[in-house]
Amino acid sequence: MKTFLKYILALLVVFSLSSCNNKTSRNYQYMPNMYEPVSYEAYQESDAFANGIEAQLPAEGTIPRGGFMPYEYEDTNEGYEAAKANLVSPMDSLQVDYERGKELYDVYCGICHGTKGAGQGTLVKREKILGVPSYADAGRAITTGSIYHVIYYGKNTMGSYANQLNEEERWQVVAYVEKLKAELEK
């Protein structure tokens, strides 16, 4: 009987030790004084702002440092038409880097538009997102300006990619899309 009790005790000890090892909470730390940041960390909660989020939108009317060009066309049908007709790329042929354009395109656009731009990305083939046009679609007749405008603001179900791609990267992607369009139309 006694041995039986001992077994139970041993089992209990093992069990209580292993139950400390809970995957949904963090482990113990020794003296964590130098672990915890004094300064603000990314995504930390903060009472400096009303909604407690540290990641804030820039104040309206402010401009980031360094070679920033404001985008003048508005997010309306007229803005779209104007950009489609007038906007041209600021890059010359030496600045266009199709390899980088392809890399960015495959990450951000290929998933819907397909690596060839025919509107047959993985999500379309799996019927998750429908109605992705081919770049060669005659009814749309996209131009340099309209591609940039669409990346900047999005269009209907397509979202904006302005926060994932910076200005120079957007123009690289535009150049690559135009290349795909030319290849599709061949």
Binding site: M34, V107, K128, N156
Partner: protein, 439 residues
């Protein structure tokens, strides 16, 4: 991905059947064939998916109105005929500017969103599309596939259980066989007259004999001490290491579905990994790039979630909509947002510095090297220990990527001469200097 194959197969068989049926019905009932009514819903479906589905659903408003039975609806409510529809679809802007009353009315009702022009669609194409919008959705097909899939899933489960059960039975049989063998051996021994050693009263109990043997006690206690030291050391070393940490997130977001099954690139969401210290957690507008269109997961996905993970995926997407303030019925943002408080998993202590761009863009290390098989994780967990030893080991083992990196050309040449090697490791480039990681 056999679910998908099943589904496609069924829909293909159905559509074949449909075409078959159509060709027959048309050729037999030739008198019913009029120029307009012969729309082919199968071709219509593919045209609809390619051209119109970006803005229209059959039964739900999206960017544009729901289109189920649109021809009949417009005819009954507004008295508009096929000719109007042809004009509208080929060039809605033209119709609006020509002052057509109803065209202007819907245009204004839908916040003046312009519908594309489709001059390339022929009369036949438009008939096909309208036939598709008029055809009732193939409900039985969906039910059938769902059942088939459930059966398939259950089969997998059963076969596993059968194997386990068979193993258990096997072990039981083995144990019984052993007992039987022992019994027969005993019986043999008795028959031959050899005394079977049963309880021997006069013998010392084992533990007394043990205690009397000093040497044995010494060896055992050393053994015991070493053993427990090993465990204590192991326990102390894992204090502060969060390997395997797997918190419950506010939205059940699955990397398996996004990065695995649908093959979305890591950098699509973690886009700052290319250029900054942090990889970043995507803000909700990035989710909405896709989830504006994906309000519900496919039937197969939903079943899988409930059966295998006990999660209602559609409810999780509703949580996303609530957080970002998206009203599905009006397809617009309400402006009432509430932040999603993702729980941070990977977190180095403040005394160490780690930079993603250096590893992802410069060194070209794959995310999976450090974060494990993310594309298979239903729930994200910490794969690596993130200890200093882990960082240092990899710096010792991994070569620096010098290709197309003019910045490294000279220093690489000099250092590789110094160390007498072809390829420098990160450690030889200075990846072991305390100041690189501790500041």
């Amino acid at each position: 991905m056999k679910h998908v194959i099943y589904r496609n197969l069924t829909s293909k068989i159905l559509s074949f059947g449909f075409i078959f049926f159509l060709t027959f019905s048309i050729s037999i009932n030739a008198q019913e064939e009029t120029a307009e009514a012969a729309g082919d819903p199968v071709n219509g479906k593919s045209l609809f998916n390619a051209n119109c589905a970006a803005c229209h659903r059959l039964n739900k408003p999206m960017t544009g109105p729901a289109l189920a039975n649109v021809e009949q609806r417009l005819y009954e409510e507004e008295g508009l005929d096929r000719e109007w529809l042809n004009k509208w679809i080929r060039n809605s802007a033209g119709l609006i500017s020509s002052g057509d009353a109803y065209a202007n009315k819907v245009y204004n009702e839908w916040n003046q969103v312009a519908m594309n022009a489709f001059p390339q669609l022929s009369d036949q194409d438009i008939s096909d599309i309208l036939a598709y919008t008029a055809a009732p959705p193939p409900a039985p097909a969906v039910a059938e596939t769902a059942v088939a899939e459930q059966a398939g899933g259950a089969q997998g489960g059963i076969s596993n259980e059968i194997i386990l059960g068979a193993l258990a039975v096997l072990f039981g049989l083995l144990a019984m066989a052993l007992i039987v063998v022992k019994r027969t051996l005993n019986r043999f021994a008795e028959a031959k007259g050899i005394p079977v050693v049963e309880e021997d009263e006069k013998r010392l109990p084992l533990w007394k004999a043990f205690v009397q043997n000093q040497f044995l006690v010494l060896v055992t206690s050393i053994f015991f001490l070493l053993g427990s030291a090993y465990f204590v050391y192991g326990y102390l070393m894992q204090v502060g290491v969060d390997q395997g940490y797997e918190p419950v997130q506010p939205i059940h977001y699955s990397h398996r579905i996004h990065a695995g099954e649908n093959g979305i690139d890591c950098k699509y969401c973690h886009s700052s990994a290319r250029v900054s210290k942090h990889s970043g957690i995507p803000s909700l507008n990035i989710c909405m790039n896709c989830h504006k269109a994906i309000g519900q997961v496919a039937e197969a996905t939903q079943q899988e979630g409930i059966n295998e993970y006990g999660v209602d995926y559609n409810a999780e997407i509703q949580k996303l909509y609530k957080a970002v303030g998206w009203d599905e019925s009006t397809q617009s943002y309400t402006g009432e947002t509430s932040p999603v408080e993702w729980i941070r998993i990977h977190n180095l202590p403040d005394l160490a510095y780690f930079n993603h761009a250096q590893h992802v863009s410069v060194a070209g290390v794959e995310c999976q090297t450090c974060h494990g098989p993310v594309e298979e994780m239903e729930i994200m967990y910490q794969h690596a220990p993130l200890t200093m030893g882990w960082c240092i080991n990899c710096h010792r083992e991994t070569n620096v990527n010098v290709q197309d990196n003019g910045y490294y050309a000279k220093i690489h040449e000099e250092l590789s001469k110094k160390y007498g090697v072809e390829q420098l490791t990160a450690a030889q480039m200075g990846g072991l200097e305390c100041g690189k990681c501790h500041y």
